[in-house]
């Protein structure tokens, strides 16, 4: 990824940014997030099929913001996350430089948010192809069968919150589950408690999820919790004809009211 390395080096050498957030290869061959502050170390940056993690999760972290201006390697999901974070006023566009990556793996020239928006709008924003079949399968089940499926999967949950921590949209400094006046969701990991947690998280992400699948990938016990959030992505699209993360001015569809909103389900 020579262009990428050159660009990153350039940005650091000219002090346009103080850190480049990208991917590097770990000793076991897996890709892992890299935080390059030294232009010489830019050589470590890679981009290939192994690089799937949504790096936007680091944009809201104190330790990363402390560096100053941030350049971030951004595939489509990361770009959409960035849009969401800007629209929810968690980061500012002035503070980041987007090193966009196309679906073929080429470096894109993203000069500003409008350009990024243009790129996003031209892309397929529906749930990734590899999950569409599984989602369709699940939809065919009866409610009892669906409940039984999720009961089985969520009984494995150990409430480690890797799903929440890996998600760029879960940036609340005090999550609902960490509030104890009152304790909305019990702390312990039993099946129904875990179901409450996952349903709560999916609902908090409805209209905000950009289908990166990080939550399911991060789960150490292999619960496909990304299917819950992606199902809601489809539901939101069915009702409101929007996908999240397409504009830095877009407010979350479920927290805004438009006079021409469909009211057929209440009137």
């Amino acid at each position: 990824m020579n262009n990428l390395i050159t660009r990153a080096k350039e940005l650091l050498e000219n002090n346009n940014v103080q850190v480049v957030v990208g991917y590097e290869a770990g000793p076991t061959g897996l890709a892992r997030p890299a935080f390059i502050t030294n232009p010489e170390k830019a050589e470590k940056l890679i981009y290939d099929d192994r690089c799937v993690q949504n790096l936007a999760v680091y944009l809201t972290k104190k330790e990363v913001k402390k560096f100053g201006k941030i350049a971030i390697i951004a595939t489509l999901p990361v770009m959409r996350s960035i849009m969401m974070l800007i629209s929810e006023q968690q980061i500012t566009a002035e503070n980041i430089v987007v090193l966009g990556i196309s679906s073929e793996g080429n470096l894109l020239d993203i000069a500003n948010m409008q350009v990024m928006q243009g790129f996003i709008e031209k892309s397929d924003l529906s749930n990734p192809a590899k999950y569409k079949d599984l989602l369709a399968e699940l939809r065919k089940l009866t409610p009892e069968e669906k409940f039984a499926y999720w009961q089985k999967e969520l009984s494995k949950c150990i409430k480690c919150y890797a799903c929440r921590q890996a998600c760029p949209m879960c940036y609340c400094t005090r999550c609902t589950v960490e509030v104890n006046q009152p304790q909305w969701i019990p702390v312990q990991a039993n099946t129904y408690g875990s179901m409450e947690w996952h349903i709560l998280r999916a609902m908090h992400l409805a209209g905000r999820c950009i289908s990166c699948g990080e939550c399911g990938r991060a789960c150490p016990v292999g619960i496909p919790c990304h299917l819950l959030t992606m199902q809601l992505v489809d539901q939101v699209h069915n009702y409101f004809k929007v996908y999240a993360g397409t504009s830095d001015k877009m407010s979350s569809v479920l927290s805004t009211f438009e006079p021409n909103d469909k009211e057929s389900f209440i009137i």
């Binding site: 770990g26 000793p27 076991t28 897996l30 890709a31 892992r32 997030p33 890299a34 935080f35 993690q53 999760v57 680091y58 972290k61 104190k62 330790e63 990363v64 150990i158 409430k159 480690c160 919150y161 890797a162 929440r164 921590q165 890996a166 400094t173 005090r174 960490e178 304790q183 019990p186 702390v187 312990q188 990991a189 039993n190 990080e214 990938r217 991060a218 150490p220 016990v221 292999g222």
Partner: protein, 336 residues
């Protein structure tokens, strides 16, 4: 007690399994639908796997469950009462086929729960536990037991340790009184040892834990922590899959007047773990929490209890969403 070495043929092993199943619960590894290895209660012998490297979750759940009720109560002002849990109801359990790393972790847990004052929930469960360990004939790049003073065929923590032989049978080392009782109750299943070759994998030593402990004494303020923890997302996955992690939370849960107080798994990696009510947090940023994890396991615990807080099973590294590979970090620490 002196170790007794015996041979147990595969067919006899199956008979032993079925015999034990008659009077106890057996917690044994099976391969789940999604190819992960998990421990289940009372699987049929044919489902039990002898070829796993590591299960996704550790086996600490049998002595340190993810939720343990401490007592139940009735909250009724002046008439409030507390009712103890009847620990005699804890059943006898056989841990079957757990590897030496997992079994060695019981010692680490003991150094926490039985230190100073005794946690009877833990010790009662340990009392009712029989461990039939299985030496490793397979390993992978995440294993590092040999760096923390263990081996693929360590006997620490096992009552009986099985080691696979070249011909498919097993060598059985009877290590403790509990193990000996099994031998005494079914002597016909155990035969004298033969010269058959044992199959034990080799795990390259990646670092010296003694060196690491020495380095850590003066490493508190080292920039290593910040540089190496930037990608940590602060979940509890590493602590929860770890067989030697035992930090816990205590919570009450009520339904009307009745309720229970329980303890559940917690992780020092969570941001709010050390948060004071005043809002002050001694470990505000992830680098401090990552440092705590390593220091606790490799410096504080050896200092306090002469027990290392890590058994080299590699679950934390293989389960980490962002590849925080603990062996890699310790190797680097050794060289700072």
């Amino acid at each position: 007690m002196e170790t007794t070495r015996k041979l147990i043929r595969k067919q006899s092993l199956e008979k032993l399994y079925k015999l034990l199943l008659e009077s106890r619960k057996i917690y044994a590894p099976v391969i789940a639908a999604d190819k992960q290895v998990e421990y289940k209660y009372n699987p049929s012998f044919s489902d039990v796997t002898f070829d796993h490297i590591r299960s996704t979750l550790s086996v600490k759940n049998i002595v340190f469950p993810k939720v343990e009720n401490l007592f139940s109560y009735v909250n009724a002002k002046t008439e409030s009462t507390i009712t103890d849990i009847d620990l005699n109801k804890i059943p006898e359990v056989v841990l079957w086929g757990a590897h030496p790393c997992d079994n060695a972790a019981f010692d680490t847990l003991r150094s926490i729960f039985c230190w100073d004052i005794n946690d009877e929930f833990f010790s009662k469960r340990m009392e009712k536990l029989l461990v039939i360990g299985l030496s490793c004939h397979l390993s992978d790049e995440y294993c590092f037991c040999t760096s923390v003073g263990l081996y693929p065929n360590s006997s620490k923590g096992s009552d009986i340790l099985l080691t696979r032989l070249q011909n498919g049978d097993f060598k059985a080392d009877i290590l403790t009184e509990k193990g000996n009782n099994v031998l005494l109750s079914s002597p016909e299943l155990f035969e004298p040892v033969t010269e058959e070759k044992v199959l034990i994998t080799e795990v390259m030593q990646k670092f010296s834990h003694e060196q690491v402990t020495i380095k850590l004494k003066t490493a508190f303020e080292h920039p290593f922590w910040v540089a190496n923890s930037l990608r940590c997302i602060g979940c509890g996955a590493c602590a929860y899959v770890c067989p030697a992690c035992a930090c816990f939370d205590i919570q009450d849960e009520s339904r009307g007047k009745n309720g229970k107080r329980y303890r559940s798994w917690d992780s020092c990696g969570f941001g709010l773990f050390t948060l004071h009510t005043s809002g002050h947090n001694p470990r505000e940023v992830q680098s401090q929490r990552w440092r705590q994890r390593i220091m606790h396991k490799f410096s504080y615990m050896p200092d306090r209890n002469e027990s290392l807080g890590c058994v080299g099973c590699g679950r934390c590294s293989s389960g980490c969403p962002v590849d925080m590979n603990i062996a890699e970090q310790l190797e680097a620490l050794q060289n700072i």
